[in-house]
């Protein structure tokens, strides 16, 4: 099929099998910021946004992404700059493999995710094997606070 979409704000066209994964399509197009991990939707390193919803791109079929608005970690500085800033300033990373998925997952949080318990529940499907999660949770809380301030400046 010819898949037409927007990726990180720009038109995107690819000739791919409808049953290929969105992960394969994106990485095949050179967007290798999105990582491949477990390939069964559990680990979260392949998280991307499809029409503003976080999905495991390893499970998401290209056919379902046709016509969609897709954002990957490469677009986060534009799409969710406060989240990227929060991760940098809180050092919400160590080896970096899970980081693209963590940043995209946090970028998909709604305003209902407010306290540490909410954040830990929301991110429980994004695994990290280095940090012990402390600085990731800190970065997520910081990002949510920044976005609240952007909506309603003090």
């Amino acid at each position: 099929m010819k898949m037409h979409a927007r990726v990180n704000g720009s038109p995107f066209v690819a000739e791919v099998p409808a049953t290929s994964s969105l992960l394969e399509v994106l990485r095949g197009a050179g967007l290798t910021g999105t990582k491949e991990g477990c390939r069964i939707g559990v680990c979260g390193v392949c998280t991307v946004l499809v029409d503003n919803r976080p999905v495991s791109s390893c499970l998401y079929l290209a056919g379902c992404a046709d016509g969609a608005d897709i954002w990957t970690v490469e677009g986060m500085a534009e799409h969710a700059p406060s989240v990227v800033d929060a991760f940098v300033e809180c050092e919400g990373m160590q080896c970096g493999i899970c980081t693209p998925g963590q940043i995209v997952a946090v970028a998909s949080m709604g305003p209902d995710v407010r306290d540490e318990r909410d954040v830990r529940h929301y991110l429980s499907g994004n695994l990290c094997r280095c940090t012990g999660y402390g600085t990731i949770v800190e970065a997520a809380l910081d990002a949510q606070a920044r976005r609240r301030d952007e909506v309603a400046p003090a």
């Binding site: 099929m1 010819k2 791919v16 099998p17 409808a18 049953t19 290929s20 994964s21 390939r39 069964i40 939707g41 559990v42 979260g44 998280t47 499809v50 919803r53 976080p54 999905v55 495991s56 390893c58 499970l59 998401y60 079929l61 056919g63 379902c64 046709d66 997952a105 998909s108 209902d112 529940h121 929301y122 991110l123 429980s124 499907g125 994004n126």
Partner: protein
């Protein structure tokens, strides 16, 4: 729209009628959120000749209240269900079950129709919907029909649906004053499947139950109802502890679990008794329902 890709075609019907037509093709498989189908295709467990994606059918995404019930379109996502204020206020068991499935990314795209149609006995929604006495609305070449959860699911990952039938909505009765609860037991990771799950509804008038339903998941080839829960009708609060314990033992006797990584069959059977009692106590409002 038809797209061929190798030997798999990917169809995107815009109406239920077009979906039914598309599903009439040999080897066609319906796909909604894709969290199970995408996994099975990716793992090579499923090689459909035709995939029929239901994500672009407006009728399937409607969620509305209507005379005495809530009609939930089949492609309503679990995240939308969990966050819906009226769902949470009226049928908390369904909101809690939806909020329990998998992880954030699963709930963002997985649908209520898929959760029942996949007929995986470890799924959270079937026991909750069974306790809530929901009906699954189905459309096919032979017309439309409504099925209870335990009529739809007839075994391990098996339903009575014809190949051309598609789930269009799930209808949940709304009864004033009805309480509903859903509990799941996951001794491993929180995003794992439940070892056992228990759902209950109770109508209580003047401190006495007038109707009680109990359903169990994870402990057999499909979620099952425990008819002995009706024996709680008319039982005064002073006898709830012993009466719920008896019903919970009936729930365990009705279990038909298998040994797997989530627990041995014997362990699951004991856990059915524990979690059935807890969900009944919580639903009836007894104190000390949870550890």
């Amino acid at each position: 729209m038809t797209e061929s890709s190798g030997d798999a075609a990917f169809l995107v019907p815009g109406t239920v009628e077009a979906a039914v037509e598309a599903l009439g093709a040999a080897g066609a498989v319906a796909l909604a959120g894709g969290t199970s189908i995408g996994l099975m295709v990716g793992q090579g467990l499923l090689a459909p000749s035709v995939l029929v994606w239901l994500g672009r059918i407006p009728e399937l995404s409607v969620l509305e209240e209507e005379d005495g019930g809530m009609s939930i379109g089949a492609t309503t996502t679990l995240a939308a269900l969990a966050a819906h204020p009226r769902v949470r206020a009226t049928v908390p068991a369904l909101a809690d079950a939806a909020a329990s499935v998998g992880n954030t990314r699963v709930r963002a795209v997985a649908t209520i129709g898929g959760a029942v149609g996949h007929a995986d006995p470890r799924q959270d929604l079937p026991p909750a919907l069974l306790a809530l006495d929901a009906r699954v609305e189905v459309a096919g070449r032979r017309g439309r029909r409504r099925l209870a959860i335990d009529e739809l699911i007839d075994g391990f990952m098996s339903t009575v649906l014809d190949p051309d039938e598609v789930i269009t909505a799930v209808r949940v009765p709304l009864v004033v004053g009805r309480r509903s609860c859903y509990l799941r037991y996951t001794p491993g990771s929180a995003d794992d499947y439940p070892t056992v799950a228990a759902a209950a509804t109770a109508d209580v008038a003047d401190g006495v139950p007038t109707a009680v339903r109990l359903a169990i998941g994870g402990a057999g080839p499909a979620a099952y109802l425990v008819p002995e829960a009706e024996e709680l009708r008319g039982v005064p609060e002073g006898r709830w502890a012993s009466a719920t314990a008896e019903v919970a033992e009936s729930a365990a006797r009705r279990a038909d679990p298998v040994d797997d990584r989530l627990g041995s069959a014997a362990y699951k059977r004991r856990m059915v008794a524990v979690w059935a009692r807890r969900v009944l106590e919580r639903c009836l409002g007894a104190e000390g329902a949870l550890p």
